[in-house]
C-alpha cells in the first residue's frame, strides 16, 4: 500500500461504505453528548421511533449551562429556568436510553473535552464526535475527532456513522524548544495568526516536529482544541509513549494484556515517511513569544512585545475597524498598556491540571491588581478540581484573590451566570474572542494561563517572563 498520512489511516480504518454521490459513511467509536446540542436530536429519534445504535459508545454530561457555584445543590443550584430545562432534558434522555452519564453531583462531571481524555474514553485510533466544535481536542490522542451539528448528532445516534467527505491533509511542523513560559496555547494562537482563521478549512491538520513531541498530553489537547479556530474541523498528533503513559490506568481505558495489545496497534498510528500532504507549514519554536489577541477573531493576534496593528498592516479593513471599535482600542496601542477588568482561567482549552499549576506558580505569593474586579478559576472537571486541591493550588488562587469554582464551560461562552459586564475587558484562557461571546458587549483577549496569571497580578498585559 502506498504511503499514507495518519489521517488517511484513521479514515480508511473507519470507512464503512462509499455512496453513489461520493460521500462516505464513517464509523464512529465515541459520541460525547451535552445539554445544548442534543435535545433536538433525541426528539428526532423519537419521531422516527428508533433507538440509539450503540449505547456503550455514548457518554453524556451537562457542561455549557451549569453554574460554577453551589454545586452541592445540584439542579436546584441552577436559577435560570431555561438552563435548568436543558439540563433536565438531558437527564431525561439519559434515563430513557440508559446512557453513561456524569451528573452534576458526580465528581467526574466537567467539560466534555476534559472528561473524555481524563476517563480514558478517548483513545488513539478512535473516531470521536460531539455536537461541539472543540471536539478537535481529542485529536491529541491520535484520534479523528470532529465537531458536528445537531442533525449529525441525530444521524450518529441512529446509525453509528457520520456522512463525510475526505478532507485534505495539512501538516504543521514546529521544531525546537519553546521559550521559557511559552506554552501550547501560544503555539496554537501563533499558528492561527500565521495561517488565518480559515487557513485550515477543508483540511485535517497534523501537528508534528520536536516541539509538538515534547508537549505533554495537556499541551497537545490545547493545541488540537483550537484547530477549529484555524478553520480545521479536526487536528491531530500521532500517539507516542507520552500518550500511552497518560492513558494507562484511566478508568475506561483497556488494562492488562489488552492495554499492551492496544499499544501494539496504536504504535502504527503515524504518517508514513513518504506520505504526501496537500499543504505544509514549518515554524521554529523561537519565533513564538507569548501571544495576546486584540480583536474579535482569533487571527487578530500579536506577540506581547507588539502593538495593536495599524490599519495598513491588516488585510481586511472593514472587519479591522469594526473589531477595534468593539474592543475599544486604538491602533498603535502597546499590548502591555491594555488594562483589564476580569481574568478567566478555564474552558476546554485551558482548564486542565497543568494549566492550573502554571497559573498558580506565577500567582504564588502575589495578589490581584486593584483594578481587577473579578478573577475566576474554573477547573475543567470535578477531578481536576480535586487534584488541584490535593496539591494546594486552590489556596494559592484564593490567597491571590481569585474565586475558586466548580467545573463547567463557565465564562468561555456565558451561557451560565459567569459573564462579563458591558465593555469589561477580560484576559481569558478560552478559545474565542467573538463579540458578545463572554457576555453582552464584553471584550475578550485570549491568552495562555501563564499570561492570564501575570495579567492578574499587574492589572494589564505583561510578558509573563518578566514576572
Amino acid at each position: 500500500m502506498s504511503s499514507r498520512t495518519l489521517y488517511d489511516k484513521l479514515w480508511d480504518a473507519h470507512h464503512v461504505a462509499k455512496r453513489d454521490d461520493g460521500s462516505s459513511l464513517i464509523y464512529i467509536d465515541r459520541h460525547l453528548i451535552h445539554e445544548v446540542t442534543s435535545p433536538q436530536a433525541f426528539d428526532g429519534l423519537r419521531e422516527r421511533k428508533i433507538e440509539p445504535w450503540r449505547v456503550d459508545s455514548i457518554i453524556a454530561t451537562p457542561d455549557h449551562n451549569v453554574p460554577t457555584e453551589n454545586r452541592a445543590k445540584g439542579l436546584k443550584g441552577i436559577n435560570d429556568s431555561t438552563s435548568k430545562l436543558q439540563v433536565l432534558t438531558l437527564e431525561e434522555n439519559v434515563k430513557k436510553y440508559d446512557l453513561n452519564f456524569f451528573s452534576l453531583g458526580d465528581e467526574r462531571q466537567g467539560i466534555v473535552h476534559v472528561i473524555g481524555p481524563e476517563q480514558g474514553l478517548t483513545l488513539p485510533g478512535m473516531t470521536v464526535v460531539c455536537g461541539d466544535s472543540h471536539t478537535s481536542t481529542h485529536g491529541a490522542f491520535g484520534a479523528l475527532a470532529m465537531g458536528i451539528g445537531t442533525s449529525e448528532v441525530e444521524h450518529v445516534l441512529a446509525t453509528q456513522c457520520l456522512i463525510a467527505y475526505k478532507q485534505k491533509n495539512m501538516r504543521i511542523n514546529i521544531e525546537g524548544d519553546l521559550l521559557e513560559r511559552v506554552s501550547a496555547k501560544d503555539v496554537t494562537m501563533f499558528i492561527i495568526g500565521q495561517i488565518g482563521t480559515a487557513g485550515g478549512t477543508g483540511f485535517n491538520i497534523e501537528y508534528a516536529g520536536s516541539t509538538i513531541e515534547n508537549l505533554s498530553m495537556e499541551g497537545r489537547m490545547t493545541l488540537c482544541n483550537m484547530s477549529i479556530e484555524a478553520g480545521a474541523r479536526s487536528g491531530m498528533v500521532a500517539p507516542d509513549q507520552t500518550t500511552f503513559d497518560y492513558i494507562k490506568g484511566k478508568p475506561f481505558a483497556p488494562s492488562g494484556d489488552q492495554f499492551e495489545k492496544a499499544v501494539d496497534t496504536w504504535i502504527s498510528l503515524k504518517s508514513d515517511p513518504g506520505a504526501v500532504f496537500d499543504n505544509e507549514f514549518s515554524f521554529s519554536s523561537e519565533q513564538i513569544l507569548p501571544q495576546v489577541t486584540w480583536g474579535t477573531s482569533p487571527e487578530m493576534v500579536s506577540s506581547i512585545d507588539e502593538k495593536v496593528p495599524e490599519p495598513r498592516d491588516f488585510k481586511n479593513k472593514e472587519n479591522y475597524e469594526d473589531a477595534l471599535n468593539y474592543m475599544g482600542l486604538k491602533p498603535g496601542t502597546k499590548l502591555t498598556d491594555i488594562s483589564l477588568d476580569q481574568i478567566f482561567i478555564g474552558s476546554c482549552t485551558n482548564s486542565r491540571i497543568e494549566d492550573l499549576r502554571i497559573a498558580a506558580e506565577i500567582l504564588k505569593g502575589n495578589k490581584l491588581a486593584k483594578n481587577i474586579k473579578r478573577a475566576l478559576v474554573v477547573p475543567g472537571s470535578g477531578l481536576v478540581k480535586k487534584q488541584a486541591e490535593e496539591e494546594g493550588l486552590h489556596e494559592i488562587f484564593i490567597d491571590a484573590g481569585f474565586s475558586w469554582r466548580d467545573a463547567g464551560c463557565s465564562m468561555c461562552l456565558g451561557m451560565n451566570p459567569d459573564q462579563l459586564n458591558q465593555e469589561e475587558r477580560c484576559a481569558s484562557t478560552s478559545n474565542r474572542n467573538f463579540e458578545g461571546r463572554q457576555g453582552y458587549k464584553g471584550r475578550t483577549h485570549l491568552v495562555s494561563p501563564a499570561m492570564a496569571a501575570a495579567a492578574a497580578i499587574e492589572g494589564r498585559f505583561i510578558d509573563v517572563r518578566e514576572i
Binding site: 464503512v16 461504505a17 455512496r19 454521490d21 461520493g22 459513511l25 464509523y27 445544548v36 446540542t37 433536538q40 426528539d43 428526532g44 456503550d56 455549557h64 449551562n65 431555561t82 438552563s83 430545562l85 436543558q86 485510533g125 478512535m126 455536537g131 461541539d132 466544535s133 465537531g147 458536528i148 451539528g149 445537531t150 442533525s151 449529525e152 444521524h155 441512529a158 446509525t159 453509528q160 456513522c161 467527505y165 482563521t197 480559515a198 478549512t201 477549529i228 478553520g231 474541523r233 475506561f252 495489545k261 492496544a262 496497534t265 477573531s297 487571527e299 472593514e318 472587519n319 461562552l413 456565558g414 451561557m415 474565542r432 467573538f434 463579540e435 458578545g436 461571546r437 453582552y440 458587549k441
Partner: protein, 212 residues
C-alpha cells in the same frame, strides 16, 4: 436549458463582513431553547438591537439598531443573504442555520464557508453557495441599501443569474440531491444497515477495547 429554482431564488440582502461567526448569527443565550424554531427574531441579535436580548422575549419593545441592514424594511422579505469569506465560522451550533431559515433565508452566498456551518445548511434545506471573490465583489459593488435586487438560481445546472451576469458554482451531487429531493439522510443511511453491522463485527474483533 435554464431551470430556475424558485425556492432558492429571490431578493437578497448583503452583509459586508468576512468571518461572520455563528456567535453573531445567533448569540449564546438563545441556544437554551430545546426547539428548532423561533430563532428568526434573534438572528444577528447583537447587531440588530441596541439592547441585550433574552430567550422568549417580545421583540417589538426592543431598541432597534436602525443602521443595521436587517432592520431596513426594504430587505425584511429577503430570502438570499450575500456575505464575504469564511461565513459561519466558530461554534457548531445548528441554531445558526435554524435562525437564518426562520428569518426566511433560503440561500446563503459567500466567498467561502466554515465546514460545520456549510454541512448544517444542507441538513436543513438551505443552499450554501460559493462564488469567486470577484463575483462576490460584483454583487457588493452594485448593491445599495435603497433598492431591492434579485438573484435567480438554477440549481440543476449550477448557475446563478444576477443582472446580466451568469456565475457557475460548484456543488457536490449529494448535496444537490438533498436540496432537490429533500432526502431523508438517516433513512438513506439506514439502508446500509447490513454493511454497518458487518463492519462493526469485524472492527470489534480487531479493537475489542473499544467495546464495553
Amino acid at each position: 436549458m435554464k431551470q430556475i429554482s424558485n425556492e432558492f431564488s429571490g431578493t437578497f440582502i448583503c452583509l459586508d463582513k468576512s468571518n461572520v461567526d455563528t456567535d453573531q448569527i445567533i448569540p449564546k443565550q438563545f441556544l437554551k431553547s430545546i426547539k428548532k424554531t423561533g430563532f428568526g427574531d434573534n438572528l444577528f441579535d447583537g447587531w440588530r438591537y441596541l439592547d441585550e436580548g433574552t430567550l422568549d422575549q417580545e421583540t417589538s419593545s426592543r431598541m432597534v439598531n436602525k443602521d443595521f441592514i436587517f432592520n431596513n424594511k426594504l430587505f425584511i422579505d429577503s430570502n438570499i443573504l450575500v456575505s464575504r469569506e469564511n461565513f459561519g465560522c466558530g461554534s457548531s451550533r445548528e441554531h445558526a442555520v435554524w435562525a437564518l431559515k426562520d428569518f426566511g433565508i433560503k440561500t446563503v452566498i459567500a466567498e467561502s464557508f466554515a465546514d460545520i456551518f456549510y454541512n448544517n445548511c444542507f441538513k436543513n434545506g438551505l443552499l450554501a453557495l460559493c462564488l469567486k471573490k470577484s463575483e462576490i465583489s460584483k454583487i457588493f459593488d452594485n448593491f445599495n441599501e435603497d433598492s431591492v435586487q434579485s438573484i435567480e438560481i438554477d440549481l440543476i445546472n449550477q448557475v446563478l443569474y444576477y443582472g446580466d451576469s451568469e456565475f457557475k458554482f460548484e456543488l457536490d451531487d449529494y448535496k444537490k440531491k438533498c436540496l432537490l429531493e429533500g432526502l431523508d439522510e438517516i433513512g438513506a443511511s439506514l439502508k446500509f444497515t447490513e454493511q454497518i453491522k458487518s463492519f462493526e463485527k469485524n472492527y470489534q474483533i480487531k479493537n475489542p477495547w473499544l467495546f464495553k
